[in-house]
């Protein structure tokens, strides 16, 4: 396997370059996945039946916390990749661990948010709006959960095997995934929560 030392480690072999390109294409598909969720959400947003509307259940504080936690985690993992490129394994692992902890914090707030909605009478089955809300937020949350475990596996592998072309490649691809989840959250934050809370 030919290693090109003029490139960052995650791009340094042909298979590495294939993996990164393949993952970007997967992200294109994920844009359509979330695009379809948003399509359905915007179509069903006013169809609340006898149940509550967004304005009635959305709270600014947990949403702000979720946004801040995810945004910061995206910044931190960027620092992690930079540390990886510098060859600093300890810094990289520290930054990755902080990223996952922030992600865990995000999930904590989101689970609590769902519990509060349930108690307020907004359940998965209440109306088309609530079904869509939970499914959209839930799909994003499930992606974050999957990402948490994936990130954990990568931390273990880098700790045990060091920063090699393979582990660098995997870590970089994971960071692409994590950044993408933040991009999706930006749209959820803006067009579901803020838009929902500012409707007349």
């Amino acid at each position: 396997m030919k290693v090109d030392h003029s490139q960052p480690l995650e791009y340094s072999t042909e298979q590495n370059r294939l993996n990164i390109l393949g993952f970007w294409i997967f992200l294109g598909a994920e844009i359509m996945l979330f695009g379809t969720l948003f399509t359905s959400y915007f179509t069903l947003v006013d169809r609340t039946g006898d149940g509550p509307t967004g304005v009635e259940i959305f709270e600014i504080f947990p949403v702000l916390m979720e946004t801040f936690l995810l945004l910061t985690s995206s910044f931190v993992i960027g620092l992690g990749i930079h540390a990886m490129r510098l060859g600093n394994k300890k810094a990289m692992l520290t930054f990755f661990a902080i990223t996952l902890l922030l992600g865990l914090g995000f999930l904590g707030f989101e689970i609590d948010e769902f519990i509060v909605y349930y108690h307020e009478g907004a359940t998965l089955q209440t109306s088309a709006f609530t079904s869509m809300l939970f499914t959209t937020l839930g799909t994003h949350g499930a992606h974050v959960t999957l990402g948490f475990f994936w990130g954990l596996f990568i931390i273990i592998q880098v700790a045990k095997r060091g920063i090699t072309p393979e582990t660098a490649n995997k870590s970089f691809i994971f960071s692409l995934y994590w950044h993408f989840l933040d991009v999706v959250w930006i749209f959820i934050f803006t067009f579901i929560y803020l838009e929902g809370m500012t409707r007349v």
């Binding site: 359509m32 399509t39 179509t43 069903l44 039946g49 088309a128 869509m132 990568i154 273990i156």
Partner: protein, 649 residues
């Protein structure tokens, strides 16, 4: 007995009981045969764990042919039932199950895998590569498709077949009107197979972008590779829509969500909308590779290179983008305003233009060529007028105001079969004959093949052209019978005759394969048709590593140039070749997916959770796995090349 009651078929019939027995006998015979001939290890190590694109493609091909049989039997049953008025062959419930199964099987489990078969076998060879970008993922794609197909196919003997049509509209598809598990099978089996297809799309885009032989720029790629590339692009943007639609449908049925419900704010029409946002690009996923296959066959047998290469490429790219802009034409009558319908009417009519350009280019390729009337060429020549008729009836349907007359009549049924059969079916049959020597090492018998072609073409015309007329006369689709007073009888009987001819054609195709296995000479060499592109520059059978030396390309027809213009394809010496290892994980993970799907269909939650954990364990295993493949040594390459009579150094 109470627990097992949910697995019973809600509407049994003698045919279904007979099928249960047949399935049981077949499974027993397969297991017995494998054990008696001691082939389990062979099956596992050569086929179940393979990551070789050629073998994966072959498995897709075999699966597609088996599904063609099942879908075809469905068709024969339907046309037999409607051959005469007030027929009693199938009651309405069974007719619904048969046309639903027919649609899903033919599109998702026959046409898609057939196309995947050719993409897998041909594309890496055409671009001078040794495999696809992600061989393991490729294996997962196949096994997920296989498990999805298996799950769908057992529905009619365990729990009940889907019966809401291949498009499964809500509210019919919801629990109130479809209480059996049939529609659960629909939602979940297609979901599993769809994940596999999405993986294939990602795989082939990466492969085609980064693994072409040196000198093969994008504008020097063969036409089939271009069609595979464009198709893969459509796949990655269309299939996620289906994923979400099926998820929402599954949740409505299993978890009482209100997406498509008729109460609590649900919008049943949203299903139709999302289904067709996927569904229209899907039909272009089917037809573009078919166009690619014809674009390979016609130049070879007209002995001229393709006319208008650039416009062929541009038209396919335009079609791929445009296919996302037309979906509403599938439900013009659903209630939106004339303004909305007009927009989609115009976009739909526009998409006919690039297709028309391709038809002219194929004709101009044949003009002043020296045509050889082989079986693949016969299919290609018949495709052009027949597909054109289907296409122009499509333009008729595209006019939204007129569509109020045609929608959901037999006219529509005639149109889409008129484009799918001469388009996709002819292409895959032509491609099977064309690429058969490359895959299996011998030719298919021409004489019997020609009989099959004629029975198919005449049978198709007899079966479907009358439907245009009965459709205009008012015969609705999906109706299990009609009274004599309607006057639809005679033409429906003609359709039945046509279907019988198509059945004979299928039997002849099977006989062609059987006869050729027994009598065709082996060792026909790597280039039996005197073709133009790189896949024919390999030996027969193709060695594991495809090319001993990666070819050098400096034109659109590198192999033709090597044969007749002195271009040197294989420069340099042998080097050791890196190949991926086999793996059992794709099969195992897909088998767990089958269990997961089955558990969801029957709401067996504990089993579903356990199998979901199993899937995640497989993924975790992959994350931690260290697998660097293996090397094929120079000595081994030399030995293989000498054995196959290749260019030795």
């Amino acid at each position: 007995m109470g627990y097992f009651a949910k697995f019973a078929v809600p509407h049994p019939s003698p045919a279904i009981y007979a099928s249960m027995i047949a399935i049981g006998v077949t499974v027993f015979l397969v297991i017995f045969g494998l054990t008696y001939f001691k082939k389990w290890v062979y099956l596992w190590s050569e086929w179940i764990t393979t990551v070789d694109h050629k073998k994966i493609g072959t498995m897709y091909l075999i699966a597609a042919l088996l599904m063609l049989f099942r879908g075809g039997v469905d068709a024969l049953m339907m046309r037999a039932q409607t051959a005469v008025p007030d027929n009693k062959l199938l009651d309405s419930q069974h007719y619904n199950e048969v046309f639903s199964a027919h649609g899903v099987i033919m599109i998702i489990f026959m046409a898609m895998p057939y196309i995947m078969a050719f993409m897998n076998i041909v594309v890496p060879l055409q671009i001078g590569a040794r495999d696809v970008a992600f061989p393991r993922l490729n294996a997962i794609s196949f096994w997920l498709f296989f498990m999805g197909a298996m799950l769908f196919n057992i529905s009619f003997v365990i729990g009940g077949s889907p019966d809401a049509g291949w498009s499964s509209y809500f509210p019919l598809a919801d629990n109130e009107f479809s209480p059996s598990v049939g529609t659960n099978y629909y939602m979940i089996a297609i979901q599993i197979a769809g994940i596999g297809t999405l993986m294939t799309g990602i795989n082939f885009i990466t492969t085609i972008l980064r693994m072409r032989a040196p000198g093969m720029t994008l504008m020097r790629m063969p036409m089939f590779t271009w069609s595979a590339f464009v198709t893969s692009i459509i796949i990655i943007f269309a299939f996620p829509v289906l994923t979400i639609a099926l998820l929402m449908g599954t949740m409505d049925r299993l978890f009482d969500t209100k997406f498509f419900a008729t109460t609590d704010g649900g919008m049943d029409m949203l299903w139709a909308n999302l289904f067709w946002v996927w569904g229209h690009p899907e039909v272009y996923i089917l037809i573009l590779p078919a166009f690619g296959i014809f674009s390979e066959i016609i130049p070879t047998f007209a002995r001229r290179n393709i006319y208008g290469y650039k416009s062929m490429v541009i038209s396919m790219v335009v079609i791929s983008l445009y296919s996302f802009f037309v979906w509403t034409h599938h439900f013009f009558t659903m209630g939106q305003t004339a303004y909305v319908n007009s927009i989609f009417s115009i976009t739909t009519m526009v998409i006919a233009v690039p297709t028309g350009i391709k038809i002219f280019n194929w004709l101009l390729t044949m003009w002043k060529g020296r045509i050889r009337f082989t079986v693949p060429m016969l299919y290609s020549i018949a495709f052009i007028p027949l597909f054109t008729v289907g296409g122009v009836t499509g333009v008729m349907l595209a006019m939204s105001a007129a569509d109020y007359q045609y929608h959901n009549t037999m006219f529509l049924v005639a149109h889409f079969h008129n484009v799918i059969i001469p388009g996709v079916a002819f292409a895959v049959l032509a491609g099977s004959t064309y690429y058969w020597p490359k895959i299996f090492g011998f030719m298919l018998n021409e004489r019997i093949g020609k009989w099959a072609f004629w029975f198919l073409t005449i049978g198709f015309s007899l079966a479907f052209f009358p439907m245009y007329i009965t459709g205009l006369d008012g015969q609705a689709r999906r109706m299990y019978t009609y009274s004599e007073a309607t006057g639809y009888g005679p033409l429906n009987f003609v359709s039945f005759i046509g279907t019988a001819c198509m059945t004979i054609s299928f039997i002849l195709i099977v006989y062609t394969i059987y006869y050729s296995i027994r009598h065709s000479p082996r060792h026909v060499g790597g280039d039996p048709w005197d073709a133009r592109s790189l896949e024919w520059a390999t030996h027969n059978p193709v060695p594991e590593y495809n090319f001993a030396i990666i070819p050098q390309v400096d034109s659109r027809e590198p192999f033709w140039d090597a044969k007749y213009k002195g271009h040197e394809l294989f420069k340099g010496d042998y080097k050791k070749i890196h190949m991926p290892n086999n793996s059992g994980v794709p099969f195992i993970m897909s088998a767990i997916f089958f269990v997961f799907g089955f558990a969801l269909v029957f709401s067996m939650w504990i089993l579903a959770v356990i199998s979901l954990i199993g899937i995640f364990i497989c993924m975790a295993h992959r994350s931690f796995e260290i697998d660097h493949g293996h090397y094929i040594s120079v000595e081994e390459i030399k030995e293989t090349e000498v054995k196959m009579g290749g260019n030795h150094k």
